[in-house]
Amino acid sequence: MKLEDIARELGLTELTSKVTGSSQADIERGYASDLLSDVLAHAPEGGVLVTLQVHLNVIAVASHAELAAVIFAGGRRPDDEVCTKASAEGVSLFVSPADTFDVVGRLYAMGVKGNHA
């Protein structure tokens, strides 16, 4: 499932624009958590993270865990500084007005699975 297809299907707003080639990235796995240590420990490499956390450390964690994209649920928007950092680290950021449960449900229906599916 291409990231750009996910963004279109879920009606996501992209917050980063200069992440080269990311729209073509193939997303097969995802993770949802607001605990960053939990993300570090369990998020699948190359996957997408759905979270409520919008601060700078999310980018550090996403980059460390080598995630392709982060979707902020519940319409929460990070500061510009966070978006700039994400672009530099090659992590795409999106925001969705839907809450975490709905975002994950729709991702799952599109074929993006968790670690053990």
Binding site: G21, Q24, D34, L35, S37
Partner: protein, 523 residues
Amino acid sequence: MEHLAYDIQSGDFGGAGAASRDLKQHLKRIGAESGAVRRAMIAAYEAEMNVVIHTEGGRLEATVSDGQLDVDVVDRGPGIPDVPQAMREGFSTASSEARALGFGAGMGLPNIERNSDRLRVTSAIGDGTRVSFSITLRPEAADQGARPSSLGIAAELCRDCRHCLAACPTAAIRVREAQPSVLHHLCVDCTCCIAACDPGALTLLDAPDGLAAADGVLAVPPALLAGFGDHAVDTVLEELRGLGFAAVVSVHPYEDELRRGVLDLAATSALPAPVISPVCPAVVSLIEVKFPSLVSHLAPLASPWEALQRDLGERDVTYVVSCPSQRTALLAQQPTAQRRTVTPRLVREAVLPRLAARRRAAPGTPAPQPQAAGASEGDLLVVTGVTHVLAVLEQIEDGRLTDVASVEPFICDDGCFGSPLLGEDAYVAAWRWAAAAGAAPGEGRSYERARPYRPRPGIRLDPDMAVAIRKLAALDAETKALPGRDCGVCGAPTCAALAEDIVMGRAVRALCPYVTPEEGSAS
């Protein structure tokens, strides 16, 4: 031994992660295996966050030595009253501020433990805590040692023009005192320097005893068959047999089979996309040396020549190869083939007089008109020429070529037809070959490769990671001392290549014409 140290500020949630990120860069440059790098990062990041969240600040020190990373994180803090309790998942004493940011879930120390090979936590109440962990670093898997090269050097022909320096895609050539030499650990056996060498000082090694026309099989590339002016392919085949060979087989059916095999794998296997065809052994070597992360994209199939070699088994075969990489690939499977691997030139010189005599006897045989080429395969991207191959491999490595299912890369312009070792222009030969399709029928097959493709440690500075780290620092300093003009006067293609030569003991700084004598003697 490399020692790194980073100060960590209390409460600096924004700056946290800088130390672990820098550590990651270092581990990558010394060639540590990527799984270990990821584990080291996670463990270091958790340790960093612990200092930020719980303490008055501290310091992370990392030592990389003999296959091991040791990290020591010492903080000024309240200390941990009950270490075993802190090691339990879910136990946390974090502030509400830290929790609001998604930390303090009681997973930090357990995460470090899970990602390290040894963890030791010591703490003194009111004084601070020391978290020490170690991770074993194995080098990223790579074949060791130099491999044979099929590039021949006739130093007496060298005119010192140095065109080869810039032509080489891996900066493997040096020209010093009008003597070209090749760094075998970097050479990928392509044809770039051969094409650039007008006087012919760089060429393909020939069989030591020439073309011994035994009663065996002659295996040829299609470009050879189509490379004799307007002599038709079936005529050429006849005259080749006339040299005394029992049979002449062309490798092209094996190229077709390999293409089918690659497309099949691209459609059905779990290989990362795009799947790269191993059709050109020079590109395979280029990937092994310069793009180790793309080795997993290579279809695990034998090259057309290797598959043909396998089918011919124990028969007495003379191989006419169109480039050094094909010869090296054949020799890797069967070292005795050395005596029977010949250049196209040798065969051309033997056959041309026969074709000329035939033309005199029966003049005016028209060559057939070409038919339309076969239907193009939509899922296959064919890339030829070193510039384009490098550009496309870069794209794949950066994850920017995701809409292509499979790639068939050739190092020579226009594929094997464009090898500078063949006598005919690539376009003319390809046109003529298309016209004669069917004149050299044959069956091909594709095989799984017995030995998997493996990265080569060509760009790694030393097999010992600790030594590599030292050399990396010296290389940085040496590169800064050189002017960056890449003029080639020193005999290396670039200033960076000279810097590496100096660090590796292959050259001295005084070779650079822009370095003053005092600076030069400092090296």
